[in-house]
Symmetry: C2
Subunit: 436 residues, 2 copies
Amino acid sequence: MTRRYLATALLIGLGGPAQAQTAPQLPPPEKTDPAALQLMQGFPPPPDKTVTLGTVLRVPANARWANQHFRELGPTVAVWRGPGGPSALKSAPRDLDALAFEDDKAQRTTFADWQKSTYTDALLVMHKGAVVYERYDAGLRTNVPHVLWSMTKSFTGLLTALAIHEGKLDPKAKISQYLPELADSAWGDATLQQTLDMTTAVRYGEDITNPKAEIFQYLISNGLVPAPANYPGPRTMLAFLRSLPKDGEHGAGFAYKTVDTEILGWLLQRTSGKSFAELVSERIWRGIGAEEDAYVWVDSSGAQVTSIGLSATLRDLGRFGEMIRQGGEVNGKRVLPKEVIDEIRKGADREKFKASGLAPRFGYSYHNQWWISHDAAGSFEAKGLNGQHLHINPAAELVIVKLSSHPAGNTILTHNLDRRAFEAVAKAIGVKALAK
Amino acid sequence: MTRRYLATALLIGLGGPAQAQTAPQLPPPEKTDPAALQLMQGFPPPPDKTVTLGTVLRVPANARWANQHFRELGPTVAVWRGPGGPSALKSAPRDLDALAFEDDKAQRTTFADWQKSTYTDALLVMHKGAVVYERYDAGLRTNVPHVLWSMTKSFTGLLTALAIHEGKLDPKAKISQYLPELADSAWGDATLQQTLDMTTAVRYGEDITNPKAEIFQYLISNGLVPAPANYPGPRTMLAFLRSLPKDGEHGAGFAYKTVDTEILGWLLQRTSGKSFAELVSERIWRGIGAEEDAYVWVDSSGAQVTSIGLSATLRDLGRFGEMIRQGGEVNGKRVLPKEVIDEIRKGADREKFKASGLAPRFGYSYHNQWWISHDAAGSFEAKGLNGQHLHINPAAELVIVKLSSHPAGNTILTHNLDRRAFEAVAKAIGVKALAK
């Protein structure tokens, strides 16, 4: 049981305390490559090469397969790309594989080695809107959506901030004003902005070392972890969210909590009358000229998982990142109001962020579900489990998308390393370095 | 239990004996319209408006919602449309709604009324390759795939016939030559062609009035029907197929059996090394210039359901039908060899077909998983549960696609009525009538 919980935790944990942030024993990257291991090959594949939802959380290689095949494991809903055809992507290729840089342990590494050692499934570098570098590994292909895990949160935060900008939502309003059924839960007297910035006080643990942490109940409730036999807890996501009590004072400090985002998603859908997949399609996916449909994981009651449920292709994430970098425009066409992105980039209270214990990211803040570095380059990020990254460097006019299956899960473990790789790219293409 | 089985049977049954083909009590069409009933509206929808896989088979309205939302209820895999963008569809619209004709009970009806009374979700008429008529109902939209049920079989049959044409498969070979693990099953000494034409002798019933019919085990094995508590039967589709014994002599007569198609799908995937979704994508979907990805239902072990598992959009089915009508070409570009379609159109032994008991369709035969009418117009068809139709009339240069949610399930119940509607369209657009 402990072993299973630990494996689950490694996969999912994103915001545990600092003392838990030591790297566990990891399998070598090639031992997790589903293509090399021939997972799910053959009709039928041999039993020990068959990935089921119940095995994903125990076997890193199975997780790596699942990260690009989640729709084959359970219910999902399409995020339609719209009728317009994909927007053009300029190309200005550079061979960055041999690019050398010093890693966070003062060892020399290269751009290619960094990708391998961090279990990268796909990597995209865009400079001034043109694709400079694009690589796929582990069997991933251009047209296949990869799970975003908590990068999903930045979509939900963006849509919420957009609704605020449009006057449809009030950031100072209590959550229970929009969702009366949450009056008796932790969110009854939390404001929308506190939920957006994850400064709510909820008895909910995302601590990856605690087998009793509520994140496991969350994952069972939305179907991403199969319920054990005779499981007594909530079997739907909304029932689980309603069950969480307050614990402390809202607004006191930042605590990374996936459930805050699910509240936003629920509220967004309730107030707009549209599903999350419809909102992402109408307000973002069509606007950027996505090449492929994305998709969203759905729980057993049909609720869409708005905190960790999105899957999308590398190129479409590049288009998305580039739209954000351009302040809401794609090829001169406005998709989102510039003010919404300007507001995100302002960030939140960096002192309150320190309550998170995410030491490698001290200096950051978390605002409207985006990670704001407050560096001189103005870089800001969407992040997800297993090493999902959308890194935007406005000063360098750079967008980097990294889709990965790092078995250690928590991106904080590779934070300093990944930042060095991003900085090396910025230097290599001849732009200002990131401020350290 | 009986009631549940009956509902299931009504939804799924396709080839039961003639005496079972009387129409059951049916709900009025408007009482099954998920849009009008506001099924799955609201966040969350009220419990009595929530569709789950377990309720689909008991409630016709839920089935109607599910028919255009199956991916939201379980695992699926994408059939990629490819990178080329959709092929152009010419348009030559005509208002056919008021078109009057005499139904199979000698009552006057109209094209619009026929659609409503047969629970039509979408209808497309193409003449000489141009869209003459296109309608959507019950909330279905142009970009949303609708389940095809047994129309899936005609895709599997087409791919098998293609592999035979290319010399990769031998129609006279025994199934066990390709799938040795089936040596002790019903298919051990059945030939590929017998399986293609459903003249195998398998102890398997698709009889919709028999609660013990094996089709229910089949549906539980592939996950389309949730397993009852403590269900002792096979939990994967391949395990179920292996368990079926022989019952009689192969080749003696036609007996409609979904499981024959699953054997073809298994064999196709084993011998090609590609999944069904990959084969449909590479050999058909890309070739026709599909506008949207299709998708395939997947069982709990990852096996793709090749007999009833496809969902696709109305327009893409029009493109597919038109390619078949044109003998394998789309806009002058060859997609499939003409010989493969010519072979299908030859049909099989019409005397052996009568063993099926499908009296309204006597005169037909079933060859390579297509329904061949042997009428003067040379019409042939793909058919599926709930009234899915792809009707191709070569003489009239006509393709009709009908996607429906008829709660009586079996298309044989509306066979004569539907043929009259197709004939009325052929007459209305000024071409030769179908031979009766």
